[in-house]
């Protein structure tokens, strides 16, 4: 141990090392090059070298920028998301018009600019995807920590609760709840978030059960730390890696679920531009030659979920290189 210099590299150890260096002989130059790298830094470097991950991240960044700048893009093109162009945006039969220099991706059945609506639709998909994921992760972490650390009755109750959640056909419940209450942005986020907290809960529970026997947790307990402190201060930081991996895969799943609710007409109410809603509308038109109406919203949805899934897989491989990389 004494041969190896401290590689943790915090500020305090650095200054302490500096004092030590002054006192001792000068350190050989070759030794200085060695730098401590945390597992997070290692993972980050692996991720940066992963070509698929970089492309996926760039795609997601582009979609996010597009969503953020939606009003600017609309103003620049000069077409509002809900503006109907009954004169130039519809053909003689009142159907959509194909892509042109005026409407880059054509129009929809109400004569609205499809490109502008797809840009606005990204806002809904991304915000529901991220917010719903935050809800499920927060619930999953809370339930998983409690079940794993407290064990016993708490664990049994939470395990049965999760069983019930998985048994009752919740897409049915979601549709009926959305039908009974008026569908809204908030309700959709809540439904999507509540529907998928069971998997993160299971993952966190499993991790916590093996972690809680470790020495550092016993030490914390011996020092008189209360269960809440042990759960959130000692255990939580050690389950962040699987939580991050799961969250990155949960975002595309939430986006798909949101689009599915919209497709079944119980999602975010019109006229808000929404990809699932657009695909649902297009399903009555595309057969008659209006292919762009179905193709472009579908592409937007698939490219987004694909990018998130590729990035999620890469994040998992980067954090756990033992997995061997499913998608090399």
């Amino acid at each position: 141990m004494s041969m190896i210099p401290d590689l943790t590299g915090g500020e305090e150890t650095e200054s302490a090392a500096a004092v030590a260096v002054e006192a001792r002989e000068p350190v050989p130059a070759a030794r200085k090059v060695i730098q401590g790298r945390s597992p997070w830094q290692l993972a980050w470097e692996r991720l940066r070298k992963d070509r698929a991950a970089v492309i996926a991240a760039a795609t997601i960044a582009a979609i996010v920028i597009m969503a953020l700048m939606a009003p600017l893009i609309a103003a620049w093109i000069g077409h509002g998301p809900n503006q109907q162009f009954i004169d130039i945006g519809e053909n003689a039969n009142g159907g959509p018009v194909p892509p042109s220099s005026i409407f880059w991706l054509g129009t929809d059945s109400s004569g609205r600019d499809l490109f502008v609506r797809i840009v606005y639709g990204a806002r809904v998909s991304l915000s529901v995807g991220v917010l719903a994921t935050m809800i499920s992760i927060a619930l999953g972490v809370a339930f998983g920590l409690a079940a794993g650390y407290l064990g016993g009755v708490v664990d049994a109750v939470i395990a049965r609760l999760i069983d019930v959640m998985l048994a009752v056909p919740f897409l049915v419940i979601a549709i009926s709840v959305a039908e009974i209450w008026r569908p809204s942005f908030l309700l959709v986020i809540l439904i999507v978030g509540l529907l998928s907290f069971t998997y993160p809960a299971r993952i966190v529970r499993g991790q916590v059960i093996s972690l809680k026997e470790k020495e550092y947790v016993q030490a914390a307990r011996a020092l008189g730390a209360r269960p809440l402190r042990i759960m959130f201060v000692d255990l939580l930081p050690n389950v962040t890696a699987p939580i991050i991996v799961y969250a990155s895969l949960l975002i595309p799943a939430s986006i798909v679920l949101e689009a599915t609710l919209s497709f079944l007409a119980v999602g975010i109410p019109p006229p808000t531009a929404d990809w699932g809603q657009m695909i649902s509308d297009a399903s009555g038109y595309y057969q008659y030659g209006y292919w762009w109406y179905l193709l472009f919203p579908s592409l937007a949805l698939v490219i987004t979920t694909l990018a998130f899934n590729i990035l999620g897989d890469s994040v998992r491989d980067a954090l756990d290189p033992r997995g061997g990389g499913v998608y090399v």
């Binding site: 049965r160 609760l161 069983d163 019930v164 998985l166 048994a167 009752v168 056909p169 897409l171 049915v172 419940i173 549709i175 009926s176 709840v177 039908e179 009974i180 595309p252 798909v256 689009a259 599915t260 497709f263 079944l264 699932g276 695909i279 649902s280 399903s283 595309y286 057969q287 292919w291 179905l294 579908s298 949805l301 698939v302 979920t305 694909l306 899934n309 590729i310 897989d313 061997g324 499913v326 998608y327 090399v328």
Partner: protein, 319 residues
Amino acid sequence: MIRFLTFRIGQAILVLWAATIVVFLLFFVGPGPNAVARTFAGRLATPARLAQIKHDLHLDQPIYLQYLHWVGNLLRGNLGYDYYKGQSVDSVVGSALPATASLVIGAAILWIGYGIISGTISAVWPRSFLDRGFTTAALVFYSIPTFVLGLSLIWVFAYKLSPVTQFFPFHGFVAITANPGQWFEYLILPWLTLAMVTAAGYTRLTRTSMLEVLGEDYIRTARSKGMPERRVIAVHGLRAGLTPVVTLAGLDIGTALGGVIITETLFGIPGLGWNIVQAINVQDLPVIMGIAIFAAAFVVVANLVVDILYAVIDPRVRL
């Protein structure tokens, strides 16, 4: 084993009982007795008919008695009465089940077969051209929402290729007893849709599990005593590697038999999923509740069967 069985069956009953409470609270207590009577009766019911229904359903009694009546009926196999269509929910479920079962069983054969073959090939030749192809395909199909895939298949096969395929049916269902040929024709696209979106998970699971198993010591032993590679993989590898796949298949099939909402809606297959969406659209409470409980029972039973089979295969589970 008997202790494990009793414990596990007790758990299943507990979960099912909790599911009845969730469904009861959501659809019975939530809207209140008058609203429930009205939705049961339909919009054109007279006040006398409403009072009659309220009495029939025991809606004029305390909530716990209403619940007991409902559960008592469930226990006797009576899912309720559909006042909207004028038939029992049992017969609604009975006529919808063959359609759902046709869809699910056919698709399950496709997705399990494809998943196991592609996953095994990927694991035996990792990083090969085929492995990359299968894993990429899995990633893509995993990312495509069911309704997008279904609509795309309809577009390509039923419309774009119609000069080649002539008329390709994509909407509706023909019972196998009525016309086996048409039954098959009408189910091709729904089978493909459901199988493709589900198969992705099976490819990935088989690949991971087989890679793990093929790295085990006993596989090395089998190889070193000169066993042909084909036999090593088929006999020793697959037997251990497929256990998690079989588990997943049991759970997925159990869930799907309770109704495949999107695929059935998309292709107009009058199964449980299609019926429940129809019922939701007209707020037909007895049908929603009946199918929801029926589907929950499928999931619970599938879970139970898988767990028991697991305990038979792997005695450690029983501890």
